[in-house]
């Protein structure tokens, strides 16, 4: 039997405080009124979600705030069935990319209202192209989880 080698255990805690900046601050302010705002690029006219200071492809300032719908279609999704430290939600749960009506980039979020009792049955309930709408939390704190999830319409 190979000699038993030891190891040292430790958990590292790293506190961070990230500045949102003007555009993201305003994006989350609007969550208070259950509004999802994007910004529009003057060159390619795409509405970017989340709202952003500049268009990544045209490399110019976005110059117009545009409200997009709370409803959209599932571009893709996945059923997460494993645990990891720092995980926000206990698995299993479904997450996806949602193309909100009026937006040209997709928003990543949870997809709720799915029966998770039998994992093999989940693919029958969640389909690419499915219509979903945002379910807002009661008391919202101005972060991405003010939207609890997107649920099938």
């Amino acid at each position: 039997m190979a000699e038993e080698y030891k190891s040292i255990k430790e958990e590292i805690h790293l506190p961070y405080k990230w500045a949102l900046g003007p555009v993201f601050t305003k994006f989350f302010e609007n969550f208070k009124e259950k509004k999802i705002m994007g910004t529009k690029c003057p060159k390619c006219h795409r509405v970017l979600i989340p709202a952003r200071r500049f268009c990544p492809r045209c490399f110019v300032d976005t110059d117009e705030w545009v409200q997009v719908s709370n409803e959209g279609t599932v571009r893709t999704w996945s059923l997460v069935n494993f645990e990891y430290s720092g995980q926000v939600k206990k698995p299993p749960y479904v997450q996806g990319l949602i193309d909100l009506d009026g937006a040209d980039t997709a928003l990543a979020h949870f997809i709720g209202g799915i029966d998770l009792s039998d994992l093999e049955k989940v693919p029958e309930q969640v389909k690419i192209g499915m219509r979903v709408k945002a379910r807002w939390k009661e008391n919202r704190e101005g972060n991405i989880l003010d939207i609890e999830c997107f649920e099938p319409i």
Partner: protein
């Protein structure tokens, strides 16, 4: 060196502006500043090399988050973390192969958003031997200072004079701290790790900067005030702190590589931008850079050689003691050196600069040093 590589344009964003902005925004703005100076579009950029740190950002694969903010969408862009001098050196190599005729070199750190320099540099140490005993940036610099003071009779006053000089210079630098500091203020400030007091230690700042490198031909096309890279050298020291000679580490040899490549002697340097996170280190680094004999760092500051009016001004920008965005500080030194050579350093300009030296370092008590020599 066959073809020369030129610095065509430089841009900076300091702490006061950056502190409440999102990281992506300041990276975007500093990149746009460069592009507007040379009237280039994002599409015209050749390659992009960035420098930032996952631990210093709390976002792993740190350049992923701001990739498109530095114009890198669908471009050949890489990241050299931890010390932004790496990004400069790597950008230069890519130009030298002829694969690209321009290279944007960028670096960013938001020091106000992190758990703290000590917490993150304590993680430099191995988890078994050195981390549990609390080695970090400040305490290892202190261990180096005690040995330096003991061997060469360098005093806390010498170190305090460096702070007073640099913080005084910083008043002329729009990107640096704006409070004047006297020798007495330094000596009175609270002990951090003997002999280092609070004001002996650099702040942890927010900041980003960028510069555009270009091939010799492209440089002439883009500017009539080019800065040429004449010499480079960088070198790493041992892993374990106890294995190292703290007073004669890798800086002397790194500098020798740069001087040999540039074909000059230390006395031909007109101005130096040195990375001095802890006051006495400017004196020790000056010795290692050959600006004065070994052990004579105290005499150097006493005689005012490194003042703005001195023979060899050091850190006219105020240095790292006045502005310390940890990972970006190396590139800030190179940017300031380039401004001196261009004659565009404004109120902190040293008269008729022909040759400037920029230096960067990171790791416990300077485990890795980089030296870059620039000429008009």
């Amino acid at each position: 060196m066959t073809d020369r590589v030129g610095i065509v344009a430089v841009a900076q964003i300091g702490h006061d502006y950056a502190v409440d902005k999102n990281l992506r925004e300041i990276c975007y703005e500093v990149t746009k500043d460069i592009l507007s100076q040379v009237e280039m579009e994002r599409e015209d950029l050749g390659t992009i090399i960035s420098s930032s740190s996952d631990h210093w950002q709390g976002i792993s694969c740190s350049n992923s988050y701001y990739y498109e903010a530095i114009g890198a969408y669908l471009k050949n862009s890489s990241k050299a973390p931890e010390d932004s001098a790496f990004a400069f050196l790597y950008g230069m190599m890519r130009i030298m192969t002829g694969h690209f005729d321009t290279a944007l070199v960028h670096a960013v750190t938001k020091g106000s958003e992190i758990p703290g320099v000590s917490t993150l540099t304590n993680l430099y140490a191995d988890p078994f031997i050195q981390r549990p005993v609390g080695l970090d940036d400040v305490s290892t610099a202190a261990l180096q200072a005690v040995e330096y003071m003991d061997r060469y009779k360098i005093t806390e006053e010498h170190a305090a004079k460096v702070v007073a000089k640099n913080r005084g210079n910083g008043l002329n630098n729009p990107y640096a701290l704006k409070e004047r500091v006297s020798v007495e203020d330094v000596l009175k400030s609270q002990i951090m790790a003997y002999p280092l007091k609070k004001l002996d230690c650099a702040p942890s700042s927010d900041g980003t900067c960028a510069l555009l490198l270009a091939s010799e031909e492209k440089t002439r096309e883009l500017t009539d005030n080019p800065v040429w890279i004449k010499g480079i050298g960088w070198e790493v020291d041992h892993t374990y702190f106890g294995d190292r000679d703290l007073l004669n580490g890798s800086l002397r040899k790194a500098a020798k590589r740069a001087y040999n490549m540039a074909g000059i002697e230390p006395k031909e340097i007109d101005v130096a931008e040195i990375c001095e996170p802890y006051s006495f280190q400017e004196l020790l680094w000056c010795e290692q850079l050959g600006f004065c004999p070994e052990g004579k760092g105290g005499k150097l500051i006493d005689e005012g050689v490194t003042e703005m009016s001195g023979e060899l001004p050091v850190n006219p920008s105020g240095g790292v003691l006045s502005n310390n965005p940890y990972v970006a500080r190396g590139l800030f030194r190179i940017v300031e050196g380039a401004l001196q050579v261009m004659g565009k350093a404004g109120k902190r300009q040293v008269p008729d600069v022909e040759t400037a030296l920029a230096h960067s370092t990171h790791g416990f008590a300077g485990q890795l040093h980089s030296v870059i020599i620039l000429e008009g």
